[in-house]
């Protein structure tokens, strides 16, 4: 039977009136929005200025000249490689800093060398001895520009118009996973708690409360009281009953999420991946809530089930970081796909390789929704 808009409007209206008469749920949603407002008010000032680490393998008159030219500039540190922590032949720099690594010995090449479009200097003459690596955080190599304005003149001053360079430029994020993890370990928690991460956590809590917890609470309460049976015996079909609940909880979740994104990260508001991920994650959570409410006989049992689901998810996520055997279980949960996608969407930086994650998320959410629909028709309304 095709859902009738009139029936849906009546049933959604009933849910809305019911929420209005449920002060605890409204208070919780208000508190989450208030947290977002408080966070936006206590937004930290501009980030500390980027520092450039110039590290060399062997000291030479060139490195001495670089040191002399850097005197008085607190943002440039010219140091031997041994003074920088390293892991698997990779140096580990503080977050948000860039680096110029000087590896090898001096020979002759034009200064500055002329790289191709990929940033590489090719067809090097056999005299080449030195490799210069430019490393930068994020995706924009232009952040190196202020330091290059210092580096190339000082280098030309030493070598004249020729110098023996092989130049590579690459983002620091291209470093190995282990190096990144090591860098994260060295960072303090306050450095890690970026606005994007805080917003992701808030959005997940809001989605869980509005789409899963409230759905479980309202539906199981209706089941326990027998109200759901009474409604199902009216001309409203079970499809309309279920669909109205989906629409109501999704609309509620999206409204609060939009408010939080608008308050905390307004620039991410127009990112399409954010809304696709939010839509899929919320549909998945309503489906999980429907399954739990249909299985539990009482409201209290459904509440415990919902809490167990949240704790179980947390434990699986933790175990997956320790034991690879749990990785596949984690991958089977749509939260493991939606969390990173939400975070990256808020950072407005979703790489193309995350597209399969979105497809997996859609497939898992689809499976949950089909299961929820079947179980609700079979026993959810009775």
């Amino acid at each position: 039977m095709i859902p009738r808009p009139r029936m849906l409007a009546i049933l959604i209206g009933r849910e809305a009136r019911r929420l209005r008469k449920n002060p605890s749920a409204l208070l919780l949603l208000g508190m989450l929005t208030a947290i977002a407002i408080l966070l936006s008010m206590s937004r930290p000032g501009p980030k500390p200025q980027m520092t450039c680490w110039v590290v060399y393998e062997e000291a030479s008159p060139w490195t001495e000249l670089l040191k002399q030219r850097a005197v008085g500039n607190a943002r440039i540190h010219v140091v031997p490689m041994t003074e920088v922590k390293s892991l698997s032949d990779r140096r580990i720099y503080p977050p948000h800093d860039c680096a110029i690594e000087l590896v090898g010995q001096v020979s002759n090449l034009p200064v500055p060398p002329e790289p191709d479009s990929a940033g590489q200097v090719e067809n090097l003459p056999h005299e080449y001895k030195i490799s210069v690596r430019f490393l930068f955080p994020g995706n924009d190599p232009n952040v190196l520009a202020p330091f290059l304005q210092w580096f190339w003149p000082a280098t030309a001053e030493h070598f004249g118009s020729t110098a023996p360079f092989a130049v590579t430029t690459s983002p620091i994020t291209g470093a190995s996973r282990a190096a990144v993890m090591e860098r994260l370990k060295q960072s303090s928690i306050t450095e890690l708690m970026t606005e994007e991460l805080v917003a992701t956590i808030l959005l997940i809590i809001v989605l869980f409360v509005t789409c899963c917890h409230l759905q479980v609470s309202f539906t199981s309460q209706d089941r326990e009281r027998g109200t759901l049976t009474a409604l199902a015996l009216t001309p409203a079909s079970t499809t309309e009953l279920l669909l109205s609940r989906y629409i109501f909880h999704l609309a509620l979740g999206w409204t609060v999420c939009a408010a939080i994104v608008g308050i905390l990260l307004p620039t991410a508001f127009v990112h399409p991946t954010l809304w696709v991920t939010l839509a899929l994650a919320s549909i998945g959570l309503v489906s999980v809530g429907t399954v739990m409410a249909s299985l539990a006989r009482t409201q209290s049992a459904a509440g415990v089930l919902s809490l167990c689901y949240m704790l179980f998810g947390g434990v699986i996520f933790y175990l997956a970081t320790k034991f690879s055997a749990f990785g596949s279980i984690k991958d089977a949960s749509f939260e493991s796909h939606s969390l990173p996608l939400l975070f990256l969407s808020l950072k407005q930086n979703v790489p193309l390789e995350k597209a399969p994650g979105l497809a997996n998320l859609a497939a898992l959410v689809g499976t949950w929704t089909v299961a929820a629909s079947w179980i609700f028709r079979q026993r959810g309304w009775r």
């Binding site: 009546i10 009136r17 019911r18 049976t229 009474a230 001309p235 009775r382």
Partner: protein, 302 residues
């Protein structure tokens, strides 16, 4: 319609054969190994007030749950208004109202809001809500939240909700439980009015006086099986036991005996007492429907 001598008059029309509205044929409902309803076959006619009786756990509520689509039968055929259950459930739904044995109101809403929601779902004008509330004497409390209602008021609101859309069939599971004498009388009168207007009423109750007063036909169920189905009058007539209680005096002491006139030795004993003893009191005991019920369900258990 007023009742005469405690009994409601039966419509002459209902004496004519009417088509069956509910048909149960060899209905079986199992919960694992437990058989809740065992090969139950019965039919309810259009415009009939049908009493469905049985001791606790006899399978009455399970049968009603099958009739309202709340439970799928294990086997057997169920037809409501000529439509098969559960295959044609969506077509059957608008035809009936169901008053369960427990209240299932939306607690946060007022009585009026509860009824208005259902009126909108049935596409009934709002004016009907006021009419039904008045009919069940709930107009004054209509705007109070349901959680403030007494048990009796909740029960009446439930009945009001289920008659709102003027159903062709009304299932009631113990409708007068928790009602005071006045409200009980109100509900019984309303049920008779519904029946007079052609509604089929299927009722379960433990109040035997109610059964005698308002039911056209009664089915007695025990351990999931149908014991007997007939009119209350026929039940009493067929199962009546002619008993006499006699008190007589002997040597200054008053003795009592209860004698069954259908048993020859006991009849002779009565004659002997009347002839040879000094009779103080002699009276016949009236056989009620409740006695029939106890007799039949007792037999079913033994």
């Amino acid at each position: 319609m007023r009742h005469v001598f405690g009994f409601y008059p039966t419509s002459a029309l209902r004496l004519l054969p009417m088509p069956d509205v509910i048909t149960l044929d060899q209905l079986v409902v199992r919960f694992g190994r437990f058989v809740a309803v065992d090969r139950l076959s019965l039919s309810v006619r259009k415009g009939e007030l049908f009493g469905f009786l049985g001791p606790n756990g006899a399978g009455k509520t399970t049968t009603i749950r099958v009739l309202i689509g709340g439970r799928t039968p294990t086997s057997g055929r169920v037809e409501v208004a000529g439509l098969r259950m559960p295959q044609q459930f969506d077509r059957i739904k608008p035809l009936f109202g169901y008053v369960p044995d427990t209240e299932n109101h939306i607690e946060e809403f007022s009585g009026r809001e509860n009824l208005e929601l259902f009126a909108r779902l049935y596409d009934i004008p709002r004016s009907e809500v006021g009419r039904v509330l008045a009919k069940l004497e709930l107009s004054e409390a209509a705007d109070l939240p349901v959680r403030a209602y007494s048990k009796g008021m909740r029960r009446k609101l439930l009945i009001a909700r289920e008659i709102l859309h003027r159903p062709r069939i009304l299932y009631l599971d113990e409708p007068t439980a928790n009602l005071d004498a006045h409200s009980t009388e109100l509900v019984r009168r309303m049920l008779r009015e519904l029946v007079a207007n052609g509604t089929t009423v299927f009722i379960t109750t433990h109040d035997m006086q109610e059964v005698e007063q308002i039911c056209d036909r009664v089915a007695i169920l025990c351990r999931g099986r149908l014991v007997e189905c007939d009119t209350p009058t026929n039940f009493v007539t067929r199962h009546a036991e002619r008993k006499v209680a006699v008190q007589y005096e002997r040597s200054g002491e008053v003795l009592r005996e209860q004698l069954d006139l259908d048993v020859e030795p006991q009849r002779e004993r009565l004659a002997h007492i009347v002839r040879h003893e000094s009779c103080v009191r002699l009276h016949s005991q009236e056989f009620q429907f409740e006695d029939v019920f106890l007799k039949l369900t007792g037999q079913a258990y033994t």
